[in-house]
């Protein structure tokens, strides 16, 4: 069960026990982490599960594919560390992952 720490824009931290195999987005939703909207329910259609993954972790996650990159270009305050939570599948190897959340999804 990988432990994931979500850090809101105001620095409030939420550490949750996620399930290997679920998406990062679903882990946030299941644990009521504020700051992730996930409007479309995880189909890479809405860019409201936007989050930032630091370089030290992003190297361990498969890079974003075309559909995700396309949607990220429309996310609020996207930068080079931006990812969509619904496109990241959690594994036990990601135990300790730190995820920062944007000031707003919309």
């Amino acid at each position: 069960m990988p432990k994931i720490t979500f850090i809101e824009h105001d620095n409030t931290e939420h550490t949750v026990e996620a399930l290997a195999g679920q998406s990062l987005m679903q882990a946030a939703i299941d644990n009521s982490v504020p700051g992730i909207l996930a409007d479309c329910g995880g189909y890479c259609n809405c860019a409201t599960c936007h989050c930032y993954i630091d370089d030290v972790w992003s190297a361990r996650i498969p890079p974003a594919q075309h559909a995700e990159l396309d949607m990220l270009s429309g996310a609020i305050e996207a930068n080079s560390n931006s990812r969509l939570g619904c496109q990241i599948q959690l594994t036990n190897e990601l135990d300790g992952l730190v995820v920062r959340l944007p000031v707003s999804q919309t």
Partner: protein, 409 residues
């Protein structure tokens, strides 16, 4: 609107007689008086019923089942979404199932992304303000023709760089394409729409722009260019996806507010509630609906669906379900689970324009309440509704005291 009655179909053998009801979704009993509350009657009976109207179809009346159908395209396929079935175009992406659906959807998603909508908000707000200011001093308006019918369509036409002089025609065709339950009239309006779009499509294939229409007409799916049929299908989908739907939601919203002074006062005094109020209003009035077709025999909660059965999904019934939303017929702008409505659908087909729709409705309420915080239904006027795949309120005459409030924008 002409209404040609489709003959009632005989009850199939696999449909138990006790589940059969007389229900025409475009003209529900009591609908003329109130198209929304007329539907609540379906919660007095079994969760899943069958009607011989409109080609014969099941109706899912409860939130849990509506969510299940929306999330499970196998077996609740969207390959047939109109009732009765349409013989002409397949609108896209709506009538595609996963996995093909994703390729069509990928062509349009980015035009409705959060950053794009946020960048449009200034323009949306200016438009709302200019429309409201145009009748504020009169002390009365017919909300649908003076505001709701003009607002979302103008925004959309600007979004796709269509000339605003074409607005009235576009509106007429889109209304007929969703409201007429006569398949011929639906198909006529779609043909008119396509005829209009033909020259625009050619132009934007010759000289592509950065807009939604250019992206569609020059788009590729599964590694190949879209066919003419697919282009037409996508154009029809994006054009009428956000017109009647948003206009009617706003119409139902002002109708409710006109009849409920405490709710009016609450929004006037607490503009910070407007965001959640939008969700609550979407929950209560969810105007859109779609059909499904079963891809295979399927047993569900004691119902034996057969391959080819048509199923009607009306998100309004989801929002009215007291099993999910306490006191569902009452607006609670602070309701915690208001945003769990199904007005935009669920799953891969969830409305691409949801953020735009929410933005339009929120901005409208914000600017309306800054200028006309207190208003009522005109007692001398007539409210009217029309049923159909999209429920519409077509007339909402309002009155208010002139000069009673100055904006504090």
């Amino acid at each position: 609107m002409s209404h040609i009655a489709v003959p009632l179909v005989p009850v199939p053998d696999h449909v138990p007689q006790e589940l059969v009801i007389d229900w025409d979704f475009s003209k529900p009993p009591g609908g003329e008086a109130d198209i929304v509350s007329a539907w609540k009657r379906l919660h007095d009976g079994p969760d899943i019923v069958w009607t011989p109207y409109n080609g014969g179809h099941w109706i899912l009346t409860r939130a849990e089942d509506i969510e299940f159908a929306q999330r499970n395209h196998d077996p609740f396929s969207m390959h047939e979404i109109t009732l009765p079935a349409s013989t002409t175009m397949q609108i896209l992406p709506l009538s595609a199932d996963p996995p093909e659906h994703a390729d069509y959807r990928a062509l349009i998603n980015r035009f409705f992304a959060p950053k794009v909508i946020r960048d449009m908000e200034g323009e949306i707000r200016e438009l709302a303000i200019s429309l409201i200011e145009s009748f504020k001093e009169k002390g009365h308006c017919e909300f649908m023709s003076d505001f709701a019918m003009k607002f979302p369509i103008t925004i959309f036409m600007r979004l796709v760089n269509l000339p605003l002089t074409d607005l009235n025609d576009l509106l007429a065709w889109t209304e007929a394409s969703v409201r007429a339950n006569d398949p011929e009239r639906r198909e006529w309006s779609q043909r008119m729409l396509f005829g209009y779009l033909e020259s625009i499509i050619r132009d934007r294939q010759k000289e592509p722009g950065a807009d939604l229409i250019s992206a569609i007409v020059n788009g590729t799916v599964f590694g190949r260019p879209l066919t003419e049929q697919e282009i037409r299908g996508m154009m029809v989908n994006v054009i009428f996806g956000g017109l009647d739907t948003v206009a009617s939601t706003m119409g139902f919203a002002v109708l409710y507010l006109a009849r409920n002074p405490a709710h009016r006062r609450q929004l006037a005094e607490h503009p910070e509630l407007v965001g959640n109020a939008v969700e609550e209003l979407l929950r209560m009035f969810a105007p859109s609906s779609t059909g499904r077709v079963m891809t295979r025999d399927f047993e569900y909660k004691g119902i034996r669906f057969k391959a080819g059965d048509r199923v009607y999904v009306r998100p309004l019934l989801h929002g009215m379900d007291e099993r999910k939303f306490q006191c569902p017929m009452h607006a609670d702008f602070a309701r915690k689970n208001a945003s769990q409505h199904a007005a935009f659908g669920n799953g891969p087909h969830r409305c691409a324009g949801a953020l735009l729709a929410r933005n339009e409705i929120r901005v409208f309420l914000e600017e309306w309440f800054r200028r006309i915080p207190d208003f009522e239904l005109d007692p001398a006027g007539q409210i009217s509704f029309e049923g159909g795949m999209v429920n519409c309120v077509t007339r909402v005459p309002l009155v208010w005291r002139r000069g009673a409030h100055t904006s504090t924008a």
